[in-house]
Amino acid sequence: MAQASAPMAAATPARDLGRDLAGLALILAAGLAGYWLFPDNLSFLTRLISVALLVLSLDLIVGYCGIASLGQAALYGAGAYAAGIACLNGVTEPFLLILIGAAAGAVTGLLMGTVMLRAHGLPQLVLSIAIVQLLHEAANKAAWLTGGSDGLAGMVPAPLFGLFEFDLWGRAAYLFGLGLLVAVFVALKLLVRSPFGMVCRGLKEDPLRVSALGISAFPVLLRMFVISGAVAGMGGALGAISTQVVGLDSVSFELSANALVMLVLGGLGNLYGALIGTVVFMAVEHVVAAIDPFHWMTLVGALLIAIVLFAPRGLSGTLDEAARILARRPRRAGP
C-alpha cells in the first residue's frame, strides 16, 4: 500500500527540503550582500536582524498557533534587559549573553503563556497588551536595576571568540547576528516540521479536532510560548550587545505592534514572511524616515492597506503564489 502513494510521497518532503535549503542560501546571500553593499549601515542591519528574531518569535505564536499577541516585545525586552544587566555585571562573553537573553525570554514566555492561555480571542489580545505595559512600567520604576527611563548604557561585550571586537563599525556584531539568525532559522524550520509543530498547526486550524485526538492544547501552547520567548529573548540580547544600550522602547507596546505589522506585511505561518516583512518595514522606515521623518508611517500604512486588500497572505504568500503559477505551466503536460 505504501508503494501506491510513493510517487507523490517522494515529492513532498524532498521538495520541502530543497526549498528550505534554497531559502537558507538566499538568507545567507542577502545577509552577506548587506555586509558588502552597506558597510556604513551595519549597525542598522544588526538592529534589523535583532528585530527579525522578534518577528520570527511572533510568527510561532500568531502564525503557527493562531494566538494573536500585541505584547511580544515583553519577551524581547526581557532578553535585552537580562543581557544588558549581565553585561554590566561582568558577564561579557557574547554567546553567554545570548543564552542569558534566551533564558530570560523563555521564563517570561512561560509566565506570559500561563496568563494568556487562560483566555481566548479578544480578551487574550488585551492580556498581551496588559503584560507588555506592565513590564514596561516595571522597567521604568526599577531604575536601580534597569536605569529607568535613561535605560542601560556602557555595556562592553568581550571580543567574539576572543578575537573580534564589537567596534564602532559593527562588523563583528553584524556577522555574529547573521550567524545567530541563520542558526535560529534552521532550528525553527525543524521545529515547525516536528510532530509538535504539526500539532500547533492543528490547534490553529481546529482545536476541537485536536482534543478529539486526545491531545491537550495547554501544554503544547505553553511550550510554544517558552520557545517563542527564547527566540525573542535572543533578539533582545543581540540588540543589547550590538547597540550597547537598552532602553524602555525595547519592552514597549509600540515595538510589539510594529512586530505584528511586519509579520502581517510579510505573511504568517511560514517563517520567511517574518523575515521579508521585517526587511521591507525597516528598510522603508530607514530610507523614508531619513527623507521625511514625519510622514514615513503614512507610507507604511498605505503599504499595509495595499497588502491586506490585494495580497492577504502577505508578501511571502504572494511570492509563493507567483512561484506556483510559474511552476505549474510546464508541469501541466502531466495528468
Partner: protein, 257 residues
C-alpha cells in the same frame, strides 16, 4: 434483559442533564459489550447532541455515571476520555483544512504512541507511522487523495477520513455522530462499507437519523425521545413499537406545521 450487562466495555447509568428546569436528558442508561453495534436514534430535539456531549465529556451531567471498562470516567475531561479509548467522530466534519489525510492519520497514530508532541523528531520522517497510515487510508479507499489538502477533497471522502482517524486511534468504544450526514446518497454505500470494516471487537455506538443506515448497521437500537430512552431492542421491532411511532409522528406533526 440486556446482553451487554454482563461485562460491559461501556456503560452509561442514569445519566441526566437539566438546563434550568428543562430536562434535556433524563435517566438515560445504556450498556455495551465489546463488538456491539448499537444505534441511538430519536427525532430532532430528543437530546441526542446533549447525550453525545455528556458522554464525551464536553459538558458535565447533573446526575448519573459514565463507565469505560472498569473505570468511572464521569469526572474526567474530554481529552482524558479519548486517551482511555473513548473516541468520537463529528456530525459536521472537524478536520484541518490545510493538512492532508495522511497527516491527519499520522498525527492520530503518533498520539496513540505518545509521540504526537515531540519536538526533536520529524513529522514526515515517521516511517512506521506513515506505513500504518497508508494501510488505513488504503482500507478506506483514500490512497488517491492521501496527499491532497482536505479542502480539496470531496465531502464523502472527508467523512471517510473521520473514520480513518478514529481507526488510527484504536479505540475501545467508538461514537459515530451521524457518520453519513451531508453525504450525497450516491456516496453513502462508501460510508457503509467503511463501517462494516471496523474491527469486530470494537463497541460502536452510532447516533443517526438515516433509518436505512441504522437497519443495515445496528444489531440493537435504542430510541431517545424528549430526553428519555423509550425503547431498547432489535431493529426489526423498533418500527412496531407504539411509543416510538408516537414520538416520531409527534415530531413530524410538529415539523409539518
Amino acid at each position: 434483559m440486556n446482553p451487554a450487562a454482563a461485562s460491559p466495555v461501556f456503560a452509561v447509568a442514569h445519566l441526566s442533564k437539566s438546563f434550568g428546569g428543562l430536562k434535556v436528558n433524563h435517566d438515560v442508561s445504556i450498556a455495551m459489550a465489546p463488538g456491539e453495534r448499537l444505534a441511538l436514534i430519536g427525532p430532532n430535539g430528543a437530546g441526542k447532541t446533549t447525550f453525545v456531549n455528556l458522554v464525551t465529556g464536553r459538558i458535565r451531567p447533573s446526575a448519573g455515571t459514565v463507565r469505560l471498562g472498569d473505570e468511572d470516567i464521569t469526572r474526567l475531561g474530554a481529552v482524558a476520555r479519548v486517551r482511555r479509548g473513548l473516541v468520537r467522530t463529528f456530525q459536521v466534519t472537524r478536520l484541518f483544512p490545510d493538512m492532508t489525510p495522511e497527516e491527519h492519520v499520522v498525527m492520530a497514530i503518533l498520539q496513540r504512541q505518545g509521540r504526537a508532541t515531540r519536538i526533536l523528531a520529524r513529522f514526515h520522517g515517521a516511517g512506521a507511522a506513515a506505513d500504518e497510515a497508508a494501510d488505513i487510508l488504503a482500507t478506506l479507499g483514500l490512497t488517491e487523495v492521501a496527499r491532497r489538502k482536505v479542502v480539496e477533497i470531496a465531502y464523502g471522502q472527508q467523512r471517510l477520513l473521520e473514520i480513518a482517524i478514529a481507526m488510527a486511534q484504536r479505540p475501545k468504544v467508538l461514537l459515530l455522530d451521524e457518520p453519513a450526514a451531508g453525504v450525497p446518497s450516491t456516496d453513502t454505500p462508501l460510508i457503509e462499507r467503511a463501517l462494516e470494516r471496523l474491527p469486530a471487537s470494537l463497541a460502536v455506538l452510532m447516533i443517526e437519523h438515516d433509518m436505512d443506515l441504522v437497519f443495515r448497521f445496528a444489531r440493537r437500537v435504542t430510541v431517545l425521545a424528549a430526553g428519555e430512552l423509550i425503547f431498547q431492542g432489535l431493529p426489526a421491532d423498533v418500527a412496531r413499537d407504539d411509543r416510538v411511532r408516537e414520538a416520531y409522528l409527534g415530531s413530524y406533526a410538529h415539523a409539518g406545521r
